[in-house]
Subunit: 257 residues, 2 copies
Amino acid sequence: KNRIITIANQKGGVGKTTTAINLATALAAIGEKVLIVDLDPQGNASTGLGIQRRDRKLSSYELMVGSHTVSEIVQDTVVPNLSIIPSTMDLLGIEMEISQAADRVFRLRKALASADALAYSYVLVDCPPSFNLLTMNAMAAAHSVLVPLQCEFFALEGLSQLLETVDQVRRSVNPALDIQGIVLTMFDSRNNLAQQVVNDVRTHLGEKVYHTLIPRNVRVSEAPSYGKPAILYDLKCAGSQAYLQLASEVIQRERQR
Amino acid sequence: KNRIITIANQKGGVGKTTTAINLATALAAIGEKVLIVDLDPQGNASTGLGIQRRDRKLSSYELMVGSHTVSEIVQDTVVPNLSIIPSTMDLLGIEMEISQAADRVFRLRKALASADALAYSYVLVDCPPSFNLLTMNAMAAAHSVLVPLQCEFFALEGLSQLLETVDQVRRSVNPALDIQGIVLTMFDSRNNLAQQVVNDVRTHLGEKVYHTLIPRNVRVSEAPSYGKPAILYDLKCAGSQAYLQLASEVIQRERQR
Ligand SMILES: Nc1ncnc2c1ncn2[C@@H]1O[C@H](COP(=O)(O)OP(=O)(O)OP(=O)(O)O)[C@@H](O)[C@H]1O
Ligand SMILES: Nc1ncnc2c1ncn2[C@@H]1O[C@H](COP(=O)(O)OP(=O)(O)OP(=O)(O)O)[C@@H](O)[C@H]1O
Ligand SMILES: [Mg+2]
Ligand SMILES: [Mg+2]
């Protein structure tokens, strides 16, 4: 049986894709069979894992319209044990195309309930920066949500709204949905504001916040231009080490369920 | 007659709101009468200009459903000569509510064509990080688009898609739409990748790219927590100075039309 973790935050640029790519890689590195679903039309997770645009003939679009199964679409990545359902801009049309369908919120859940999807131990879903039908599908399909939070004021402002949305999804379409945790990203220790955000979030949300802080680290932002996760591009850098640590925290929490 | 400039980029966290707030403030500081329209449900532009959530009784939602006019909704900000149409999470419902209306793409254009809206010399529209109906409305209403571009690989990846979308809007609903320019944001001179992105963008897009580079500057990210634009919070900092310089470039380009 697979554990489905959705990486979501409607605030843009907080590190959703970077967290999805590097957490998936860290989980795969310790032997878990991992699938990453790129549900953002921008397709950054696909690019960051080396899938060229021209090689995305089948994508999460086909998964959402139900024309193909996970095993027909899935591709290998540069990382052993890590497969991907890539995305293209076709996904932009989904909102209009399935807006009248009764099961429009459950398309992804249905696709990930198939036998071929259950073969993975972890499925990570990378979401676009909005509360749209794609993100709703990801939350309806997930066992838990992992929230990347940039150590910035605007990012903090949107957190309470995000937590409320998770509550609404739990009450309406997915009673099992919980918050796996909140990971603070792009932390710069020289920056007072960043330290304040960390203190604020830890005070209000306590144990929900991972101990691991992901530091701002230029090697992390360079890696996707080589089509590799930071962990492959530069294992020894502070960013990669932090994501490996995050992976062990995630697994610990999964074991404690 | 007003000039409507839409600040757009579907990539998240690239500096759209920060650019909208500080460019609007710089234009107001030199005596232009400016209106900022917050078209992002996150409402960061409203917060960054000191509008408390509880004071947003009327917002861009009412503008989009056509129940109220600009002058009924508009509020003053902490900045002289700068008024705002704030936003709330109500905007999230717009997509479903007006999706069947024939004029769904022109709601903002109609609202900004009213006499009260024409009284402003500049109208800046802050967009959410997606190609949704809200961003389409902003592009259909605009005379030009100003594109903030973070000096990062993922941000560069989305640029060609954004330019293509602007082309599509020009061909379909707004023949007058042009690109005012591309402003490079959060530039860190110690970071090779950032320098490469700057070189790349200048090589491919030449004069479309403003000379002004907005540096990464912690004072810029601190300002919104005080409900003030950086220009008011710390005029002398590198970020504020860069936005003042950007404003003069924008005006120069407007004069050359
Ligand atoms: N720890 C880090 N150190 C340095 N740069 C980082 C770090 N994490 C992410 N970045 C960079 O910051 C930018 C934003 O990160 P990313 O694209 O992962 O965020 P996102 O939330 O997925 O954005 P979007 O909302 O557009 O989907 C990217 O250019 C990325 O390379
Ligand atoms: N020049 C800068 N220096 C330092 N921090 C900056 C700068 N510009 C923006 N920021 C910070 O970076 C983050 C992203 O900027 P901002 O929110 O303006 O981007 P956005 O494109 O509007 O995001 P979204 O896609 O969520 O609407 C914010 O926390 C902001 O305070
Ligand atoms: Mg992303
Ligand atoms: Mg914004």
